[in-house]
């Protein structure tokens, strides 16, 4: 874990491979989404490359703000962080071979099984990073349909802030995800005094996004995704034939 974060850490943090999991309950690795009473599965994907990374820090802060807001109404959240840096070689190998190594497979399952997804990329060459895009290129086209997504990015200056609108939002629209209208961009300055200190600065924007995201998560019931199925999920062959008519 990075120790640079000035925030209090959530309790029960354990490190498993490339995914840092903060959980209030034991979690199985199944990709089916929860509905109703159980804790919400919140997965934050960070494409930050340095260690420590401000991209990861923003992901942590957003997950924390969302969890805190959910807790106000007694909804528990399990937070899992997916660090793409640790999966970089496996992501490239998947692009080449067409299948994921076990550690990447677990990360993909976590992301597609999430009740809420926080995605954070550094800005590279005016857009999300190539690693960030390569990871989401590996997601099945329908696997994020209806998944609530909070968009966030980090960059050197506030002049990049529309990357969340012009690059990230179209990507998740393509994936039929449900993006929260509020997105968060953190420039380097924002970690200090900040360019918009008069409006409360980055902490206020993180809190607002976390609050709105928690509201979205509370209000939603979820559609199931189409995994390679058991027999009760298969389309009977008579229907496949009849559909040709």
């Amino acid at each position: 874990m990075e120790r640079t974060s000035g925030t209090e850490r959530m309790s029960g943090t354990e490190r498993t491979g490339s995914a840092t999991r903060t959980s209030t309950a034991t979690r199985t690795s199944t990709a089916t989404r929860t509905s109703g009473a159980g804790p919400l599965r919140l997965v934050a994907v960070s494409a930050g490359l340095s260690k420590p990374s401000s991209t990861r820090l923003l992901a942590d802060r957003l997950a924390e703000a969302t969890s805190r807001e959910l807790a106000v109404e007694d909804r528990k959240a399990e937070v899992e962080i997916v660090e793409l840096r640790d999966l970089a070689v496996e992501i490239a190998n998947h692009l080449v071979t067409g299948f994921p190594a076990p550690v990447l497979s677990a990360a993909l399952e976590a992301v597609t099984g999430a009740d809420g997804l926080i995605v954070v990329s550094p800005v590279f060459a005016g857009s999300y990073s190539g690693l960030f895009k390569s990871f989401f290129d590996l997601i099945e086209p329908d696997a994020l349909t209806g998944t609530p997504v909070l968009l966030a990015a980090t960059g050197g200056t506030a002049r990049h802030s529309l990357v969340v609108e012009h690059a990230m939002r179209p990507l998740f629209s393509y994936l039929h995800a449900l993006t929260l209208p509020t997105a968060v961009f953190a420039a380097t300055d924002d970690w200090g005094a900040g360019a918009d200190a008069y409006a409360g600065g980055l902490p206020a924007r993180i809190d607002r996004a976390g609050g709105e995201f928690a509201g979205l998560l509370r209000g939603l019931t979820r559609a199931t995704n189409g995994d390679v199925g058991e027999s009760d999920e298969v389309v009977p062959f008579e229907h496949l034939l009849a559909n040709l008519k």
């Binding site: 490239a92 190998n93 080449v96 299948f99 190594a101 076990p102 497979s105 999920e233 496949l240």
Partner: protein
């Protein structure tokens, strides 16, 4: 249980010498490899179908017909025949003809191919891949079983009073496998007809195929063809064999590192751990192949990919000697000993039963 080889038919430079065989050399090499398969006691030779370089086998029944004339026991098959872009009428005719010439030593595997542009090249729409596979196979199935066919569909001009000739040998059509690496619809299709299901699992981890095969087995029983354990399953495999494990790894590594499909990606060690590829001694190949049964249940056909990635013909023929002499005889014995009564053998046309050697 049947053992054999399947060839992609790629023309790939040998990374250790830089030399690329000519198409003529590669085509003749495929024939030599098929004949060697019979000589070393394998049961099946299957060829891919491709319509773009660097692959040579665009005309499978021409090649298989030639091989049929120079072999006596070998079952000739495909891996795969493109049901989506070929005319089912022509498939019906070509394979029935081949079946007669080969005295029944013919089956085939339906597939949708892995090269997107083949669809537009043959006037089809890739977005219709599954509906094409379903409709065209339904017609092929009918053409081999009904002497006079009236048919109308979405993807082909209608037929009125059409008879596909020659009729299947002794009234029994070639056995059909359906190959798929990801579509439950194709597993469902194979189950519906009581056909075989082939999982070419060579590039992917087994968990993915366990789902597809278990779906196929369940649906095979659902459609009343037998128990799930009696469903007809085939698997791919991939091996490079030397007497000594270290020699196998040393010799195969440059071919692996530069292979068209997985080269320049994961390490040989990671890939052998995560997929069915085995590079090592005959004993290691035996152990890894026997483990397939633990993952997928008793199955009927095992095909190995042996002749790709620029391996020279001489090496491939040596590989087949090792496969046929040191690996397959042990596998036949072990699999037969483990197989419960009631699980069927690999499919053989009645006319070919006497020529195709069946073990135990």
């Amino acid at each position: 249980m049947q053992f054999g080889i399947f060839s992609v038919g790629d023309v790939t430079p040998d990374p250790t010498t830089g030399r690329t065989p000519t198409e003529h050399e590669r085509i003749k090499a495929m024939v030599a490899i098929a004949r060697k398969a019979e000589e070393v006691g394998l049961d099946v030779f299957a060829t891919g179908e491709h319509h773009n370089p660097p692959f040579v086998p665009s005309s499978p029944t021409t090649m298989l017909g030639y091989i049929a004339a120079t072999t006596e026991r070998l079952i000739l098959s495909t891996s795969t025949t493109l049901i989506t872009t070929n005319d089912p009428v022509k498939i019906a005719e070509d394979f029935a003809m081949l079946q007669h010439l080969a005295d029944g030593r013919v089956d085939l595997m339906m597939g949708r191919g892995n090269t997107g542009p083949v669809y537009p090249w043959f006037g089809e729409d890739i977005r219709q891949g599954i509906p094409l596979a379903i409709e065209k196979y339904a017609l092929l199935h009918k053409l081999w079983r009904e002497d006079v066919v009236d048919w109308e569909g979405k993807f082909r001009t209608p037929l009125q009073g059409f008879t596909s000739t020659p009729r299947p040998l002794d009234g029994t059509p070639p056995f059909v496998w359906h190959g798929s690496i990801r579509s439950p619809e194709i597993a469902e299709q194979a189950a519906y007809y009581g056909d075989g299901f082939f999982a070419n699992n060579i590039f992917w981890p087994k968990e993915h195929f366990q789902k597809l095969i278990s779906l196929y087995r369940k649906r095979y029983a659902h459609y009343g063809h037998g128990t799930p354990e009696q469903a007809i399953v085939g698997l791919g495999g991939q091996a490079f064999i030397r007497k000594n494990s270290q020699d196998a790894v040393r010799e195969f590594r440059p071919y692996f590192d530069n292979a068209p499909v997985y080269g320049h990606g994961p390490s040989l060690e990671d890939f052998t751990e995560q997929t069915p590829l085995v590079v090592g001694s005959p004993q290691e190949v035996i152990e890894k192949t026997l483990a397939f049964r633990d993952s997928f249940g008793d199955y009927q056909r095992q095909l190995f990919l042996m002749d790709h990635a620029g391996l020279p013909l001489k090496t491939v023929l040596e590989q087949l000697d090792l496969l046929g002499e040191e690996v397959v005889p042990v596998l036949r014995k072990e699999f037969a000993a483990l197989r419960p009564a009631g699980v069927p053998d690999g499919p053989v046309h009645p006319a070919a039963v006497t020529s195709v050697k069946e073990e135990v």
